[in-house]
């Protein structure tokens, strides 16, 4: 009981500090500032794309891992958590060496197709997807693992195709885990800072997400930076609360 309440207090205090220090009078000016609007737009667009990439690439991998369908499952599972352990700034350097203009994949893309990731919004998406992917894979894999295989087998014996089984049996059962994986991955993408600034750079309207705008503002005016943080916090809370309704229903259905 006591450690639990301490945990809550510990997590809530900094947020309270932000809310208490926020320049409530200047929110109008802050929200109409093109830099804030650009940053909110870049954050929204990039985090949604990053989450989409995580869903499309991460869900199949989670399924394969849960079914031990791949040789070296343990090794792959260890690889999956690497982006979690890497300091994000190091992840940024890693992304540069792979996807930068001189990187081993990036140089090919640049020479052949003129595609360049650093200093583009696509680069921001890449950085966010890299750090957010483990959250989706780990959560969804746990969901697949907890599934009772009998349901799928019954569906199969009743003549359902693998796709029908997946679509009508597996997916609804795994939906709560999928949804919480999506929420976690998206939240990580929204908060991403180090890999983004290291790999994609910092330019308003192109690569400057909310965390980058907040950090840039922190050097000049702390109260405005606090204001921007509260805006980001508010936007994310509204989205999470809206999602949580469906997500809670899913949990109950599971019980």
């Amino acid at each position: 009981m006591i450690p639990g309440s301490l945990a809550v207090i510990f997590m809530v205090l900094p947020v309270l500090g932000l809310v208490a220090q926020a320049p409530w009078g200047s929110f109008g000016t802050l929200l109409s500032d093109p830099v804030t609007r650009d940053a909110l737009r870049i954050s929204a667009v990039s985090s949604l794309w990053a989450t989409a990439i995580c869903i499309v690439l991460g869900t199949p991998l989670a399924w394969l891992l849960a079914r031990n369908a791949l040789p070296g499952t343990r090794f792959i599972r260890a690889l999956v958590v690497v982006p979690l352990l890497l300091p994000p700034v190091v992840a940024g350097v890693g992304l540069l060496t792979a996807f930068g203009r001189r990187g081993f994949v990036g140089s090919f893309l640049y020479d052949q197709f003129g595609i360049q990731f650093p200093f583009t919004t696509a680069g921001v998406v890449l950085a966010q997807a890299f750090v957010a992917m483990p959250f989706l894979i780990i959560t969804v894999e746990a969901g697949f693992r907890g599934l009772n295989k009998e349901f799928e087998e019954v569906a199969a014996t009743l003549g359902a195709s693998p796709w029908q089984t997946f679509r009508h049996v597996t997916l609804p059962l795994v939906a709560p885990a999928l949804l919480s994986g999506i929420v976690l991955a998206w939240a990580r993408a929204v908060g991403e800072f180090g890999a983004t600034i290291g790999f994609a750079g910092n330019f308003p309207g192109v690569t400057q997400t909310m965390p980058l705008a907040i950090y840039s503002e922190l050097e000049v005016d702390r109260s405005l930076a606090t204001g921007l943080s509260v805006i980001l916090l508010a936007v994310c809370l509204v989205i999470l609360v809206l999602l949580r309704r469906t997500y809670l229903h899913g949990d109950r259905a599971n019980d």
Binding site: P118, G198, G201, N202, T207, E219
Partner: protein, 264 residues
């Protein structure tokens, strides 16, 4: 009456002559204490990113000159450093890359009297193979050239903007890095075609980059300043370090070797 007035005159005269002599005596005793009393203790020096190579070397020389002292460094963008001190960071000496950032610390009452200890100018750094074939400042304005600058919140960004304005060159950078070292890193890696950095940064990375030097009359200068932090617990060591930076032949010699120019 007359006697009193005479006596008063004598007192004033004596006081005046004492005042004339006193500073000279104070100076002598201060010099004596420099030579005799040992300063010991640890100081933390918050210094601008562009000093990250040269300061550790000067720190070593200082520790050798004053045995019993330890100098630790904390490098970052000048405005970040000022904000850290504002937030109560336990720092003893502040060294900024511009007078403006130091001035903000002075007006906030955070530091003592600042001293100028070095100057720096700007240069264009390109990857070693110079992919965009940059030869002058004007080349940076060519469409499709990936140019990076520092953000306007740090001294190197202010200097870059001044430089471009002074030479009437208008560019659209692709990134505004938050300190000069991360900008330089992206030039070295070849992801940027060019970056506007300090002359000393170009020197620090050697042949990993090519550079375009800018003639003095077209260049801009930034002045580095150093001051003791008011909250320091080791004011003697802190003051000694500040003086060492500005007045000692060793510190000034090391600064010159790293490409900084003299502050006076």
């Amino acid at each position: 009456m007359r006697g009193i007035r005479l006596a008063a005159c004598a007192v004033v005269a004596a006081a005046t002559s004492l005042m004339l002599i006193a500073p000279a005596q104070a100076t002598t005793s201060a010099q004596a204490s420099t030579a005799n009393t040992k300063v010991t203790g640890t100081i933390t020096v918050s210094a601008a990113s562009s000093l990250a190579d040269v300061f550790p070397v000067i720190g070593q020389a200082f520790q050798k000159r004053y045995p019993g002292t330890t100098v630790r460094f904390n490098f970052g963008g000048s405005s970040t450093l000022v904000n850290q001190i504002k937030g109560g960071a336990p720092v003893d000496v502040l060294a900024t890359a511009s007078e403006t950032t130091m001035f903000s610390a002075v007006t906030a009452g955070l530091v003592g009297m600042p001293l100028a200890f070095a100057k720096n100018t700007m240069a264009i750094a390109m990857p070693a193979d110079n992919p965009a074939k940059i030869r002058s400042l004007a080349d940076l304005a060519r469409p499709g050239t990936l140019v990076g600058v520092c953000a306007a919140t740090v001294p190197c960004g202010v200097a870059a903007r001044d430089l471009l304005a002074r030479n009437k060159v208008s560019i659209t950078p692709v990134t505004q890095e938050l300190d000069v070292r991360s900008l330089l890193g992206k030039v070295v890696s070849g992801d940027l075609d060019a970056g506007i950095v300090y002359v000393t940064d170009v020197k620090a990375v050697g042949n990993k980059v090519k550079s375009v030097q800018i003639p003095a009359r077209l260049n801009v200068t930034t002045t580095y300043q150093i001051a003791t932090v008011g909250e320091t617990r080791t004011p003697e060591v802190a003051q000694r370090f500040v003086d060492y930076m500005r007045y000692s032949v060793s510190a000034q010699g090391i600064l010159r070797a790293y490409g900084f120019t003299k502050p006076w």
